[in-house]
Assembly symmetry: C2
Homo-oligomer: 109 residues x 2
């Protein structure tokens, strides 16, 4: 979902990219923790294939999710806030117009 | 690799199928153990994707491997012996012709 007509200053884009990295680290650490827990509970071969499916789904999701192109990044940041991987403090430095758009997106998502 | 012209009596096929189940249980138990170990060593997201690849490969391998059709089963049993999932004792009840063919296959594999 491209959010058009949003102009990004280079220092704002730097804030956005740092926020993406932060969210990625938080989300991937959570997936690592989740997999370690799931793996410790494995007792049967079917549990392995469930873990395999879970990993494939997370991989697919993460591969496409952290899109830092200008036309996508506001949507991506809003989604990450909605999911709890970012807080308002992580986006300190973005202008009020972007923050307003993001709040609107969060309600829509 | 179909091994043709091998006739199977029903009691021999029963021995073969029991051996396949035994091998499957041994091999899958080994994969479960291996995954639990690998999972306990995970610390980074890349380790997860390596585990994902390992699981996908094992799944693909196991899905195609335990073929109990008459024209395939001698080859499958030979492969499982070669890999150490079966011993000669597991195949007690097969006639000497099949055991001889199997030994030859093990040397070829």
């Amino acid at each position: 979902m491209p959010v058009s007509k949003t102009q990004w200053l280079s220092q704002e884009m730097a804030v956005a990219k740092t926020a993406l990295r932060t969210a990625y680290e938080r989300e991937t650490a959570s997936v690592v923790q989740s997999v370690r827990k799931k793996a410790s509970e494995i007792s049967h071969i079917d549990d392995l294939w469930q873990l395999n499916d879970y990993l494939s789904a997370r991989r697919f999701d993460l591969d496409g999710k952290y899109d830092d192109r200008e036309e996508e990044v506001l949507f991506v940041l809003a989604k990450l806030m909605k999911e709890g991987w970012l807080t308002a403090a992580d986006l300190d430095g973005l202008d009020s117009e972007k923050l307003t758009k993001m709040k609107a997106l969060i309600h829509i998502l």
